[in-house]
C-alpha cells in the first residue's frame, strides 16, 4: 500500500479518535492564545523576526567555520566533540562513549534529535537502560510511542491514559493511591524520577543552541529535569544537529526572546542552562566528562539546495500549533519524527522523498505557518519544492501525474482549454440533470466522497461575455 494511503488512513483514524480530538481542542488555548499574548508584549515583533532570520541565515552561511570554532572552544574547555555523518554513526559514537565508561543507566532530557536517530531502542539493544526525564517524554516512553508534538510530546493524551500507564509501570507503589489529578501524576513522576537521577551513570540532552564563540550548548526547559540530567551523572552527552550553532551569546539572546514566546508563550522558560564543558576544579557540581555529538544526518545535503531555509528552524513548534491540518489530526498521523509544516519541509530531506512525499502534499497551503514562524522560514515554498521533487520522481502515483500533465497541455492553449472545459461542463450538466448540483461522479472521487459539486453554468462566462459585448 502506498504511503499516501497510509497517511490518509492514519489521518482518518485520527479524525475519529475522540480522545485525540479532545486533546487537540486545547491547541488553541494552550498554544495559539499564549503565543499571541506573549508576542503582544514585545515592541517590534517583525523587526525581531527579521533579526532572528538574519542570525540563523548568517550562521548557515558560515556553518563550517562556526562548527570548527565551537569544537575548538569545547576542547579548550576540556570537553570532546564528535562528528556523526548519519544516525548510525551517531548511535555508535554514543554507545561507545557509554560503554567505555561502563554506563548502564542513562537519564535523558528532551531531545528530538535522539528521536530522529532512534537512540533509545539502540541503547536498549546494547544493555543500556535510558530513562526519559521530561514528563511528556517519560509518558510516551512508557507507552512506546513517538512524540506527537516537538514541544509537548504527550500532547495527544488524556490524563486518564497517563494514570493507567503509571499504575502499570510503578507497581511498587500502593495500588490504592489517588492518581486522578495532574498534580498527583506530576508528584509521582517526580518521586520516581528522583531514584533514576540518583542511579544515573550518564545524562544525555539535546541542545537548543550551540554558541561558537564560547563552546556552549544551551537548553531551555521548564521542569528542572534538564539540569538534573546534565549535572548529577559523571558524564554528560549533548546530542544535537549541526545546524544549531550561532556565532555568539548575543545572537542567542535575540533568538531566545522569540523561541520561548513562540513555543509556550513564556517570556522565558523556568531554566535556561548554559553548558560549556566538564566540571572545573572550583565548580560546586557538574559532570566529569562532557561530550557533544554533532549530527549531520542529511542536513549538510540540504544546505545548498532550495530547502536550505528549513535549517534555520529553532524548533518552537509554532507552525504545528497554527497548522489547520495538524490541528485536526495531531502529530502521529504524519508517521514521521517531525510532524506538521516543519516536518513536511524537513522530513523529505532527512528520509528521502520516496518515503515522505505525502507529507508536503498534506497541506492546504494556507500560509499560517509562514506567518507565525519566528525565523521566517518560507515553509510553504519549501513544501512546494518537495512537491516538485515528488512529481519529478513520478510520485505519488502515475494517475495523478498523468492527469496533471494532460491538464498542463490544455492549460497552455486557452482555446483548447475552453473546448475541454466546455465538454467537461456539458458532461457534468448531463449528470446533474435538473438539480443545481451533483453528488456523485465516476471521476474526482476525493471531491465527491465528502461534498457535492455545483452544476456548471450552461454557458461559460467568456462565451456569454463575447456574445453580449
Amino acid at each position: 500500500m502506498s504511503e499516501v494511503h497510509r497517511f490518509s488512513q492514519a489521518a482518518r483514524a485520527a479524525l475519529s479518535d475522540t480522545r485525540l480530538q479532545g486533546a487537540l481542542t486545547h491547541l488553541k488555548e494552550g498554544f495559539q492564545v499564549k503565543r499571541a499574548h506573549a508576542l503582544a508584549g514585545l515592541a517590534d515583533v517583525e523587526g525581531l523576526r527579521e533579526a532572528a532570520r538574519s542570525i540563523r541565515s548568517h550562521a548557515l552561511s558560515h556553518l563550517d567555520e562556526l562548527l570548527l570554532q565551537f569544537e575548538a572552544k569545547v576542547q579548550a574547555n576540556g570537553g570532546h566533540v564528535h562528528w556523526a555523518r548519519d544516525a548510525a554513526e551517531a548511535r555508535d559514537i554514543i554507545t561507545r562513549i557509554l560503554s567505555e565508561r561502563g554506563a548502564r543507566a542513562v537519564t535523558k532530557g528532551k531531545s528530538m534529535v535522539t528521536e530522529e536517530i532512534e537512540l533509545n531502542a539502540h541503547l536498549e539493544r546494547h544493555g543500556i537502560a535510558p530513562v526519559e526525564t521530561d514528563l511528556g517524554e517519560y509518558i510516551i516512553q512508557l507507552r512506546k510511542e513517538r512524540p506527537s508534538h516537538i514541544v509537548a510530546p504527550a500532547f495527544h493524551l488524556h490524563r486518564s491514559q497517563v494514570e493507567q500507564n503509571f499504575r502499570e509501570t510503578h507497581g511498587h507503589l500502593d495500588a490504592n493511591r489517588p492518581l486522578d489529578s495532574r498534580p498527583a501524576l506530576v508528584a509521582e513522576a517526580r518521586s520516581v524520577m528522583r531514584t533514576h537521577f540518583e542511579a544515573s551513570d550518564a545524562g544525555i540532552t539535546g541542545a537548543n543552541f550551540l554558541v561558537a564563540e564560547t563552546g556552549t550548548a544551551i537548553i531551555v526547559t521548564n521542569e528542572g529535569n534538564g539540569d538534573l540530567t546534565r549535572l548529577l551523572p559523571k558524564a554528560h552527552i549533548v546530542v544535537t544537529g549541526i545546524e544549531k550553532v550561532v556565532p555568539s551569546l548575543a545572537d542567542v539572546s535575540i533568538l531566545l526572546r522569540l523561541l520561548t514566546r513562540s513555543a509556550t508563550g513564556q517570556d522565558i522558560t523556568s531554566y535556561v542552562s548554559l553548558m560549556s564543558g566538564p566540571k572545573r576544579e572550583r565548580d560546586a557540581d557538574g559532570p566529569e566528562a562532557f561530550h557533544v555529538v554533532l549530527v549531520d544526518n542529511g542536513r549538510s545535503a540540504l544546505l545548498n539546495g532550495p530547502a536550505r531555509e528549513i535549517l534555520q528552524c529553532i524548533r518552537c513548534g509554532a507552525c504545528l500549533n497554527h497548522c489547520p491540518v495538524y490541528g485536526v489530526i495531531g502529530g502521529h498521523a504524519y508517521g514521521a519524527v517531525y510532524p506538521g509544516p516543519l516536518g513536511a519541509a524537513l522530513d523529505p530531506g532527512l528520509d528521502g522523498i520516496a518515503k515522505t512525499y505525502d507529507l508536503p502534499s498534506a497541506s492546504s497551503f494556507c500560509g499560517r505557518c509562514d506567518s507565525v514562524c519566528p525565523v521566517k522560514i518560507p515553509l510553504t515554498r519549501i513544501m512546494r519544492y518537495w512537491r516538485n521533487e515528488a512529481y519529478a520522481h513520478g510520485l505519488p502515483s502515475g494517475w495523478f501525474n498523468f492527469g496533471l500533465s494532460w491538464w498542463g497541455v490544455f492549460a497552455r492553449k486557452p482555446r483548447l482549454y475552453r473546448l475541454a472545459a466546455k465538454v467537461a461542463a456539458h458532461v457534468l450538466r448531463l449528470a446533474a440533470g435538473r438539480s443545481g448540483r451533483l453528488s456523485s461522479f465516476p471521476m474526482l472521487r476525493g471531491w465527491f466522497a465528502v461534498r457535492d459539486l455545483p452544476k456548471p453554468a450552461r454557458k461559460s462566462f467568456q462565451s456569454q461575455w463575447r456574445r453580449t459585448r
Binding site: 498534506a362 498542463g408 497552455r412 492553449k413 482555446r415 461534498r451 462566462f461 461575455w465
Partner: protein, 260 residues
C-alpha cells in the same frame, strides 16, 4: 514587450482575469466583477484565457505552470491593470510568477511587471480606485469568509468588509476564527477529503454560529468546497461570491442552487 499607454483622462483599461472556476461554474461572478469595475470608472476587457497555472504549480509540475504563466503574461501585459475576483489567482500572478520564471531573465522581468499591476478585485476597488461604497441592497446577515490567499498572501482584510458594509440593509457577521483555513487548498481537498471536510465543518459551524443567512467570500474554490459540504450535510446557508452581493445579484440562486 507590450506596455500599456496610460492617459490620465481616459478610463483605465482593466483586463478581467475571471478565473477558470468562475468561467465554468459561476459566470455571474465575472459579470458582477465587471459591473463593479465599470462603476468604478474602468473600461473592462476580457481577453481569451484559461487558468493561472496553480493546479500545476501546487501539484509539483513547475514546467507546465511556467508555460501557463508565460501565456498569461503575454496575454495580459498590454493592459493597464489586471484584476481577478480571487485572492488565490491574483496571488499566483502577483506573488509567484516571477519566482517561477526566475531562470529566464526576460520572462522574469515581464512577470514582475505584470505582478505590479495585478490586483485582487476588492483591494483594487478600494485601494486603487478609491471606492468607498457600492450601490446594492441585501436584507440579510452576511458572514465574510477570508480565503487564506486573500488574507495572508495579498493582505486583503478590511476592503471586502468595508464594501459589504456599504450594501443597503446588509448586516455583516464576523466569524470567530476568520484567519483559519476552510480546508479547500486545491488538490488538498481531493487528496485528503476527510481532513478537508473536517476543516470545512469547523468553518461551517463558525459561520452558522454568527447567525448569518449567507456566507460570502472572495475565492470560488473555498465557496464551492463549503457550499458542497453544506449540501452534503444538510446545512442551509446560502453561499455566494461577495462581488455578487456588491453588484446587486444577491437574490439570484446561490452556489449549487442554480437549476437552469
Amino acid at each position: 514587450m507590450n506596455q500599456p499607454d496610460v492617459n490620465d483622462n481616459e478610463p483605465p483599461r482593466v483586463a478581467l482575469f475571471v478565473t477558470c472556476l468562475a468561467d465554468m461554474f459561476r459566470p455571474q461572478i465575472g459579470f458582477a466583477a465587471a459591473k463593479l469595475l465599470e462603476q468604478a470608472g474602468c473600461r473592462v476587457e476580457v481577453p481569451l484565457q484559461s487558468c493561472c497555472g496553480q493546479p500545476a504549480y501546487n501539484g509539483g509540475d513547475s514546467m507546465a505552470a511556467a508555460a501557463v504563466a508565460r501565456n498569461v503574461i503575454a496575454t495580459f501585459e498590454p493592459y493597464q491593470f489586471i484584476v481577478a475576483p480571487s485572492g488565490s489567482c491574483a496571488g499566483m500572478i502577483r506573488m509567484h510568477y516571477a519566482r517561477l520564471l526566475q531562470d529566464e531573465e526576460t520572462w522574469a522581468k515581464r512577470a514582475a511587471a505584470l505582478a505590479a499591476k495585478t490586483h485582487e478585485l476588492f483591494s483594487f476597488l478600494v485601494n486603487v480606485r478609491g471606492v468607498t461604497a457600492v450601490t446594492a441592497e441585501c436584507r440579510s446577515g452576511v458572514a465574510y469568509h477570508d480565503s487564506c490567499s486573500s488574507l495572508r498572501e495579498m493582505g486583503v482584510k478590511d476592503e471586502p468588509r468595508r464594501l459589504l458594509s456599504s450594501v443597503d440593509g446588509l448586516r455583516l457577521c464576523e466569524l470567530k476564527e476568520p484567519q483559519t483555513c476552510c480546508g479547500f487548498g486545491g488538490f488538498f481537498s481531493v487528496k485528503y477529503p476527510d481532513v478537508s471536510a473536517r476543516m470545512a465543518d469547523d468553518k461551517i459551524t463558525d459561520a452558522i454560529g454568527t447567525g448569518a443567512e449567507m456566507l460570502v467570500g472572495a475565492d470560488l474554490g473555498c465557496l464551492m468546497h463549503l457550499s458542497g459540504r453544506m449540501a452534503r450535510c444538510g446545512d442551509k446557508l446560502a453561499v455566494r461570491h461577495a462581488a455578487e452581493v456588491m453588484a446587486g445579484f444577491g437574490s439570484e440562486p446561490a452556489i449549487g442552487e442554480d437549476t437552469t
